[in-house]
């Protein structure tokens, strides 16, 4: 019961929102800890250990069991399809996955190309539509692709739409809504069941307020 719970947290903006949520749920977390550059943070009093990871890697850490639980975006879960429990919608960092491109542009029938950081999601989406497209995997600045003729469409995360707008792009279709989720490793969920359930309960009270 008193064993340490290891939690993989995404670095950056989601981390701060998640911390706020944990504080509201009654976990006493130090104030200064946002500025810390450490990758592993032990919170003796709460029997918690945070591992700070790239948002895309959180699901992997949890699936592999180096973290018992974690906070991952639904976009990551859709892309990586990890074998984990998806326990709770934390309803933070709300955004969505969408198909975007230059206004008025058409998909090139001869050689349709889609640029994205989410090749699985994109491939799945277009296959579902019966479209055969070539997926071009990029690691950032996806908005560039339609502007320089690399692809006719992009599949990317949209939060306010500001980035699209500034680059003269518009959204064509929404693929899925994205929020951060609390996920758990399959074995940890069984073997540390009480601690994980307790956290789920405390967090869901705060979320549904």
């Amino acid at each position: 019961m008193n064993e340490v719970l290891t939690m993989a947290m995404p670095k950056g903006r989601i981390f701060e929102e998640a911390l706020e949520l944990l504080r509201q749920a009654g976990y006493s977390l130090p104030e200064e800890f946002e500025e810390s550059r450490k990758l592993i943070i032990d919170l003796e009093a709460e029997k918690l250990r945070f591992i700070l990871a790239k948002p895309m890697d959180v699901a992997t850490y949890v699936e592999q069991g180096v973290a018992d639980i974690g906070i991952a975006g639904k976009d990551v879960l859709l892309e990586e399809e990890p074998d984990v429990y998806e326990l709770l919608d934390l309803k933070i960092s709300h955004c969505y996955l969408a198909v975007a491109g230059v206004p008025g542009s058409r998909i090139n029938e001869a050689a349709p190309k889609i640029a994205t950081k989410y090749p699985n999601v994109a491939s799945h989406y277009f296959r579902e539509q019966g479209e055969q497209v070539e997926i071009i995997k990029l690691n950032g600045s996806i908005e560039l692709a339609p502007l320089i003729g690399l692809a006719e469409r992009i599949v990317d995360i949209v939060s306010t739409g500001q980035t699209l707008k500034e680059n003269g792009l518009i959204e064509f279709e929404r693929i899925a809504e994205v929020t951060s989720r609390l996920i758990a490793n399959r074995a940890s969920y069984r073997l540390k069941e009480r601690r994980i359930s307790e956290m789920v309960q405390r967090l869901s009270k705060v979320i549904n307020k």
């Binding site: 984990v84 429990y85 998806e86 989720r181 074995a187 069984r190 359930s197």
Partner: protein
């Protein structure tokens, strides 16, 4: 075509070698588990690695794309067996059950499943398990689960947990609320994927009375010990499903008689992709492995596919995952080495024969056959020298 050539030492995706130390650990696990199976009167059988796709492939309910399929010389599609339960059901229906019902069968065999993701995951792995075929009573279920527990203990595990659910109960409850099989399977998929967020969202999107939505959502809380059976019962509107809960209650009672109840807990949300499970199902977790090390349950409709309508229950353990749970391999085998020179070979032989007869593992090696003595001997737990002038041991 140079690019598509495999590397010299490469093996097909997901295929692995077992070198001596790993092999010996596997053998030790297999030995302790199988001796427990045998102590409970289960008898081992072997079935072929290749089976017809139309029969075993279909019955196994392993996903199509996970099966290794090939054509035999007659042009029929055959599969590398993706599980052992279906082949044993075939043997039971055609032979074993004609001699004796119920039949208690054990196996330890490699099964083959192509992995979709993360190419390195094992595509060939050993399962060791039992099937109890022909007995529909809860006594058969409690025997199977208690045997599972005692084999794990025999193999040296102490910290493990068995989660038990009931497919019949959850399907009945969902069907009562949702009214149609296709709706049930849509909703079940979220539980199979362990996606509780999607499960709740899906329920909220359905045109149902709030009270029924709540009943479906409350299923997620049906986890814990015996006390949840009462909560589960409260979710039922009529008596359909009560018999399933009674089965669970009886099972827990019988596990108490076996003294194994502390290893189990209930989770009525438990569902999996193996569609032949019809009643009680369970998964086993141990510390140190991130996936279940074993699973099992009741499959009362599988035998029907082989023309014999008989209830059955059983489980399989994954040897590779049990081994993972045991931590790093030891560095040396428990083998001692005798280095001799020809003039003292006789003396060395007497020594070695005596030790071998006593059950020790002894290697004999002619000194002249070794070029690097240090790297040769460091793999043995102890080294004895019979070299030089007869009668005295000498260390080089």
């Amino acid at each position: 075509m140079v690019l598509s050539m495999p590397f010299m030492f490469e093996k097909p995706l997901g295929m692995r070698d077992s070198l001596p130390l790993l092999y010996e650990r596997k053998k030790a696990v297999r030995l302790s588990v199988s001796s427990e199976f045998e102590a409970w009167g289960y008898q081992f059988i072997e079935t072929p690695a290749l089976e017809y796709y139309e029969t075993i492939g279909e019955a196994s309910s392993i996903q199509n794309q996970q099966m290794f399929k090939l054509l035999d010389q007659q042009g029929d599609t055959v599969v590398l067996r993706p599980d052992m339960t279906a082949p044993i059901a075939r043997v039971a229906a055609s032979k074993l059950l004609k001699q004796q019902v119920p039949a208690r069968i054990a196996y330890s065999a490699n099964v083959y499943r192509a992995q979709q993701k993360e190419g390195g995951r094992a595509a060939e792995f050993e399962q060791i398990g039992i099937e109890n075929i022909g007995d529909g009573t809860i006594s058969a279920d409690s025997e199977v689960i208690s045997l599972l527990i005692s084999s794990l203990k025999k193999a040296g595990f102490n910290k493990f947990q068995i989660s038990i659910g009931h497919i019949g109960f959850i399907q009945q409850l969902m069907l009562d609320i949702l009214g149609r099989e296709d709706r049930v399977s849509l909703l079940s998929n979220y539980l199979i994927e362990r996606n509780y967020v999607g499960y709740r969202d899906h329920i909220n999107s359905l045109a149902l009375a709030n009270i029924d939505k709540q009943r479906l959502i409350d299923i997620l809380a049906l986890k814990g010990k015996e006390n949840i059976l009462e909560k589960a019962s409260a979710l039922l509107e009529n008596n359909r499903g009560t018999d399933k809960l009674n089965e669970l209650a009886q099972l827990l009672q019988q596990l108490k008689e076996y003294g194994t109840e502390q290893y189990v807990s209930l989770d009525l949300t438990l569902m999996n992709t193996i569609s032949y499970y019809s009643g009680l199902v369970f998964e086993v977790y141990t510390e140190g492995v991130n996936f279940p090390v074993g699973n099992g349950g009741r499959y009362n409709s599988l035998l029907k596919k082989f023309g014999r309508d008989t209830p059955a229950t059983g489980f399989a353990l994954r040897v590779d995952r049990l081994i993972e749970a045991m931590g790093p391999l030891r560095e040396k085998a428990e083998i001692e080495c005798v280095i001799f020179t020809p003039e003292r070979k006789q003396e060395a032989l007497v020594f070695v024969n005596e030790r071998r007869a006593a059950g020790d593992r002894m290697v004999m090696q002619d000194l002249n056959g070794v070029t690097d003595l240090d790297s040769f001997t460091k793999n043995y737990s102890e080294v004895h020298y019979f070299i030089g002038a007869p009668g005295k041991d000498e260390t080089p």
